[in-house]
């Protein structure tokens, strides 16, 4: 491990890469602060830049810096405006906004920054411990298990989508897989499902799809519903110091939530949002008497809990990405797409083939967290000024960046028409409450899923691999249960509500 750390240090601590961390964190914070723009949109916009760098280490460092920065920026707008930029920071506004209303905005931002820093750093330590172990287990997997594992990942993402949403999430996953089969296939060079359109020969571009699924609908919602942008007076931010007793109060919270958040983040589909809500709920239940009554009215513990948990979960979500090559969230799916574009295939072989990428990412996580703490915290009063940019200027720029992103990737204006078309479809899907992350994850995993499926089929000359490899069978059974059980329970709950099934 020490060897790896040194390798990571030598790869990450170059002037260019250090610049990437700082640049990524600052850009992420700036854009993440804008209400309505989540980390997925920001990372999607930044991908052409990252791919343009050409170096996978620098690209991944830049993108993870952006990711951290976006989460940090999201908590800033939650605290100052009660307008979370990201679902993962909604719980932050429960206690952060009341604190800001009491004139303790500076203190709230400090607590959020320290909690984020601790959550991110402890998460990175856990990642460093668990990822190599998990990837050495994963090296034993064959294509049949890989196929099954990806099916588990995809159904877990659907299963965690929420009550009544499992079917919809599954539908979106299949739509993503279907879209992934367009273009030249994995098995032969025969183009499939292009319907004679030349531009579809190489398939849909994942950058275009990522922009169309996340950045464009968000921007359109900002246009349609100005209340979503919730611009307000950010006021003066003073008094960044916290007292010793407050520090003492939040220390155990940070410790507990780093661990809990990290492990929730590892689960596919759970991610930062669930981690932050669960972290908040757990801490409220643990707190006693007066402290419990304070939750929701500006409790320091209630602010520290979701902030720690969501950052630890973000780090945790890197575990399945780096060790198995299976993204558990929309954000890590976008990162996976960027890595594939740079000729790096994340998975158990990442640590043996290109260890410098893996360790550089870990090191850059430490550096990124440090940068957010020492650079952003003192600058927050100035950075918060971005909240005052009029939306009449902001929205055309966001739209323009989505256009640029997909144009740079393909150098082709048909791509821009596809972007607008998919963007309209994505907006309609959002109106109908369909989750879009499963679609993108399905799209990105589709090729790998089919590759592994094909290899297993060829090895066993048919579907026999499902029965002959017990591990594969077990994983597929888990995948089926993950989808069926929540639907069954939702059905029971509904019937019980109607008074049909009493028990």
């Amino acid at each position: 491990m020490l060897e790896g750390l040194l390798l990571g240090l030598s790869a990450a601590v170059t002037p260019v890469n250090l610049m990437m961390v700082v640049f990524g964190c600052v850009i992420g914070t700036l854009i993440g602060m804008l209400p309505g723009l989540g980390p997925m949109s920001i990372i999607a916009i930044m991908i052409p830049v990252a791919i343009g760098l050409g170096d996978p280490t620098a690209a991944l460092i830049l993108l993870s810096g952006v990711y951290y920065g976006a989460i940090f920026g999201g908590s800033t707008s939650s605290i100052l405006l009660n307008a979370p930029g990201v679902a993962g920071t909604v719980a932050t506004s429960f206690d952060g906004y009341p604190m800001a209303r009491k004139g303790m905005a500076g203190k709230a931002l400090t607590i959020a920054a320290i909690a984020s820093f601790a959550g991110g750093t402890i998460g990175a330590i856990l990642l460093m411990i668990f990822a190599p172990a998990l990837s050495s287990v994963a090296l034993l997997f064959h294509s049949a298990e890989y196929f099954a594992l990806m099916v588990v990942g995809l159904s877990a993402i659907a299963a965690f989508a929420g009550t009544g949403q499992v079917g919809k999430a599954l539908m979106m996953t299949i739509l993503g897989l279907i879209m992934g089969t367009v273009g030249e296939g994995a098995l032969s060079n025969m183009p499939r499902f292009t319907f004679g359109v030349m531009e579809l020969q190489s398939g849909f571009s994942f950058i275009t799809l990522a922009m169309a699924m996340f950045a464009l609908p968000e921007a359109l919602f900002l246009v349609m519903n100005p209340a979503r942008a919730a611009q307000g007076e950010s006021g003066k931010i003073t008094g960044l110091r916290i007292s010793r007793s407050e520090a003492k109060a939040i220390t155990p919270v940070i410790g507990r939530q780093s661990l809990q958040g990290f492990f929730i983040g590892v689960l596919p589909g759970a991610g930062a949002t669930i981690a932050s809500f669960l972290g908040y709920a757990v801490e409220r239940n643990i707190a006693k008497g007066e402290e419990q009554a304070e939750f929701g009215k500006g409790s320091v513990k209630g602010l520290a809990a979701p902030e720690t948990a969501n950052n630890a979960a973000c780090t945790g979500s890197f575990v399945p990405l780096l060790t198995l090559g299976i993204p558990g969230s929309g954000t890590t799916a976008i990162l996976l797409g960027a890595l594939i574009a740079l000729n790096v295939t994340p998975g158990p072989r990442l640590m043996t083939d290109t260890p410098e990428v893996f360790w550089a990412v870990i090191i850059s996580m430490y550096i990124g967290n440090l940068v957010l703490l020492v650079l952003n915290l003192p600058l927050i009063p100035y950075i918060a000024k971005i909240l005052a940019i009029p939306r009449n200027y902001l929205i055309p720029f966001i739209l323009f960046f989505t256009l640029m992103g997909s144009y740079i990737g393909q150098n082709n204006s048909t791509e821009l028409l596809l972007l607008v078309g998919f963007g309209v479809v994505a907006t309609i899907l959002r109106f109908a409450d369909y989750p879009l992350a499963p679609l993108l994850i399905g799209f990105i995993l589709g090729t790998m899923l089919e590759d592994n499926f094909a290899r297993a089929m060829q090895l066993y000359r048919g579907f026999g691999f499902i029965l002959e490899r017990p591990m594969t069978l077990a994983l597929l059974v888990i995948a089926a249960l993950l989808v069926v059980v929540p639907s069954y329970r939702a059905r029971r709950a509904r019937l019980r509500a109607e008074g049909v099934a009493d028990d």
Binding site: G167, M171, I178, N225, A230, M404, S413, A432, D433, R494
Partner: protein
């Protein structure tokens, strides 16, 4: 029928077309040597088409969950029933502007098309301070062109095609 059911119906239709293409139009194009393979390019799409129809029908036919008590519409939450309050016209105008940008990027050149896009985009949203907007758009377009061209090394023709 609610919007999500219509989408599920459209999805089932897509799966049927996709399944038709996978089952009936692909296999006879396959060279005989590949036909001895246990897996064909159409195998995975066939499985997807069947799974898609099943899941689509499940979403289409499953009863609507009872609305939870105490759930109230908040500002900023996307809600189709409030579509009347939304600025749908502005959104559609901006989408049309994006299509126009795609069409004119070659003929007007990057700088012209981008400045036009940013200024017209602001105008659609109701901005009328052109003395600020035009310089901002020009500076932004110029510096982004420089970044893409020089730093990322991707060629973008800056000027109209007739120059």
């Amino acid at each position: 029928m609610a919007l999500d059911r219509w989408i599920a119906l459209a999805f089932v239709a897509i799966c049927c077309v996709y399944g038709y293409a996978a089952f009936f139009t692909m296999d006879h194009l396959l060279p005989p040597i590949l036909q001895r393979n246990p897996i064909w390019p159409s195998t995975f799409p066939k499985i997807l088409a069947i799974a898609g129809v099943i899941v689509g029908l499940f979403v289409l036919l499953s009863p609507k969950p009872a609305p939870k008590d105490g759930e109230e519409a908040k500002d900023g939450v996307i809600d189709l029933s409030r579509i009347g309050d939304y600025h749908v016209g502005q959104a559609i105008a901006l989408l049309a502007l994006m299509v126009a940008y795609a069409m004119t990027l070659r003929s007007l050149g990057f700088l012209g098309a981008t400045i036009g896009f940013l200024v017209l985009g602001g105008t659609i949203l109701g901005e009328r301070k052109f003395h600020i907007m035009i310089p901002v758009a020009a500076i932004a377009a110029g510096s982004i062109w420089y970044l893409v061209q020089e730093v990322l090394g991707i060629y973008l023709s800056p000027l109209p095609s007739f120059l």
